[in-house]
Amino acid sequence: MSSVTENARSDGYGSAVNARQLWWPGFYAAAAWVLAAAITIGLPDVVPWGSANIFAGLLVGGAGIFALLGFGIDRLGRARDPIAWYGPWAIALGIWFALWELITAKLGWMPKPFFSPPHGLLHVYIVDWERILICIAYTARLWSIGFFSGIAVGFVIGVCLGWSKSFSYWGMPVLKLIGPVPASAWIPATFFLFPTTFQASIFLVALASGIPVAILTASGVGQVNRAYYDVARTLGADSRFLVLRVAIPAALPNVFVGLFMGLYYSFAVLVVAEMLGAKYGLGWYLQFQTAYSAYANVYAMLIIMALLCSGLVKLLFVVRDRVLDWQKGVVQW
C-alpha cells in the first residue's frame, strides 16, 4: 500500500507540500469529463438512446467539481487525502466515458442491441425508475425475510450441533449430506412443496444462507478451548452460562465466516429464484428485459445489483468489526 502511495506522490497525485499548490489530477479529470460531455452531445447517436443532454450535463457538473477541487482541495482538511486518493480513478472514469460513448453510440462499433452507451443506462433510470424501485423493494423483502430467518435457524442449529453430542450424532451426517448440494438444485422440488413461489423463494434463500452458518457455527462451538469451560465451571457457571457466555462468544469469529458465505450464496439463489416465478424483483427484471432485448435496462439493473450486494457485504464487515472488536491484534499476532 505504502509503495503505491509513494509512486502516486511522485506522479503528483499525493499530498500537496504547501497550501497554495494546485491539485493537477483535478484538472486532468475535469478535462477528461468535459471531453466525454463534448463527445456525448457533439457527435450524433447512430440510433437514438435518449437522455444524452442530461448525461452531458452531469458530466460537465462533475468536471466543474473536479476543477474546483483542483484549485481548493487543500481547504478540505481531513477529507482531502481520501478524495485525492481517487484522483486517478476520476481521470480514468472520464476517459472511459468518452471511449464508451465513442464505441457504442457514436461509431456503432459494438453490436447494437447488446451494448448501450452510458447515457442509455441513465435514460433507463430516468424513464423506468418507478418499476426499478418496486423491484428493489420486492427483492429486499424476499432477501431480508429469507436471509434473516435462514441465519437465525442456522445459528441455533449450529449451536445445538456443536454443543450436544446426541444432536451432533443425528444432525451432523444429515447436514454434511445436504450441505454441499447447491441451493438452486432444490428449486424444482421447492416449487412443488410450497403453496406459493414466494414462500418457495424464501425457503431457498433461507437454505442457502442458513447452511454455511450452521456448519461454521457448529465447528466454532466444537473448537472452543476446553480450558475456557474449566475456568467458567470452577467459577460457578451452569450449562446455560457455558453455552451463552462461553461457547457462543468464542465461536463468533467462525459464525461470521459462515455469515459471509451465507450472504454470497443468498445473492446467488435469490436472483435465480426470482427469475423462475416472481412478479417483481431484480432477477425478474433482468429476465423480463432480456426477453424484450432491452439490454440497456439489464445493464442498468446489474449496476444497481452490484451496488446493493457490495453495500450489504460492506455492512456485514462493519458489523463484524464492531462485534469482534476484541479480535484486533489477536488475528495479526
Binding site: Y228, V231, R233, T234, L235, F241, P249, W326, K328
Partner: protein, 263 residues
C-alpha cells in the same frame, strides 16, 4: 504494589478450607489403555496452610488440583473439603491455570466479573470486582482486552478473577511457570502477600523448588507417575524469606536430592 497492599487489607478476609485426599487413585485412558497417574494419595491439608506440590513433570500434580477443584472425580478414593466429599466445581475452590486463560472477548474487568456473573450476583458485586482489579494493580487496564496485556499482567488478571469469589481454597497450577524471571519474583511476593492478608488455603503446583520454599509452609514431594507422596516437609521459617537464607539453601539441597538431582 503499595496500592495493592492497601487494597488487600480492605478486602474481606476469609477462613481457609481444610482439604483431605483419602486413598486417591486416578487414571487416564490413553489410546484405549489405562494410564495410572495417582496411586494411593493420602494427604491432609490444614485450613489456612500454604502447601506446595513438587514433582517431576507429568507426574499427576495437576490432576490432584483438578480433583480438588471438582473438575474431575477420582477413580477411587475421596476428596473432602471441610469433611464433605467434593462432587463438582464450586466458586469457594478456585483453580488458577498455568495459562491465564482469560476470555479474549472480554475486557480485564469483565473477565474478573465472570464468577459473580455466573452466580447471578454481578449487580451486587460491582465494588468487589473493582477492588479485585485494584488488588492486583490492574486498575489502569480494567478496560483492556487480554491481547493487549503482557504475560504477567494477564496472569494477575487471572488471579483477580479467582480472588473476587473470596475463595477459601486457591488452587494454583504453576501460575508463574510461563513468566519471565523478574515478573515471577514480583508475582511470588504478591501471592504471598495475598495469602497472608486474605487467609485462604493455598495449594501450589510448581516445578521450582526455590519458589516452593519461599512461599509454602509445607512442601509435598511426589514421585514419578503414578504419583505417590515421597516426602512431606514442614517449612517453619518466618516470612519474608530470603533466597540465600541458610535454612532455605539446605532444604533446597535436600529436596533436590529426594527428587533425584544430586545438587
Amino acid at each position: 504494589m503499595v496500592a495493592a497492599a492497601t487494597a488487600a487489607s480492605a478486602a474481606e478476609t476469609v477462613s481457609g478450607l481444610a482439604l483431605s485426599f483419602r486413598g486417591i487413585s486416578h487414571e487416564f485412558r490413553l489410546d484405549g489403555k489405562p494410564l495410572p497417574v495417582l496411586a494411593g494419595i493420602d494427604l491432609e491439608i490444614t485450613a489456612g496452610d500454604f502447601v506446595a506440590l513438587l514433582g517431576p513433570s507429568g507426574c499427576g500434580k495437576s490432576t490432584l488440583l483438578r480433583l480438588a477443584a471438582g473438575l474431575d472425580i477420582p477413580a477411587s478414593g475421596v476428596v473432602l473439603a471441610d469433611g464433605e466429599a467434593i462432587t463438582g466445581p464450586d466458586p469457594a475452590r478456585v483453580l488458577v491455570f498455568q495459562d491465564p486463560t482469560l476470555f479474549p472477548w472480554r475486557s480485564v474487568r469483565d473477565n474478573v466479573a465472570i464468577g459473580p456473573q455466573a452466580r447471578g450476583i454481578v449487580r451486587e458485586a460491582q465494588a468487589r470486582i473493582d477492588a479485585a482489579v485494584d488488588l492486583v494493580g490492574l486498575s489502569d487496564f480494567a478496560g483492556a482486552y487480554p491481547h493487549q496485556l503482557s504475560g504477567g499482567m494477564a496472569q494477575r488478571a487471572a488471579l483477580a478473577r479467582a480472588l473476587v469469589n473470596d475463595p477459601r481454597l486457591l488452587l494454583l497450577d504453576e501460575p508463574l511457570g510461563k513468566l519471565d524471571s523478574l515478573t515471577r519474583l514480583a508475582m511470588q511476593d504478591e501471592l504471598l502477600r495475598l495469602w497472608q492478608s486474605v487467609g485462604y488455603t493455598a495449594l501450589l503446583v510448581t516445578h521450582d523448588v526455590e519458589e516452593a520454599l519461599l512461599l509454602a509452609n509445607r512442601v509435598i514431594v511426589l514421585s514419578d507417575r503414578p504419583a505417590a507422596i515421597r516426602a512431606d516437609i514442614a517449612i517453619d521459617l518466618p516470612h519474608p524469606r530470603r533466597r540465600d537464607d541458610a535454612g532455605i539453601v539446605r532444604l533446597r539441597h535436600d529436596i533436590l536430592s529426594i527428587m533425584g538431582y544430586g545438587a
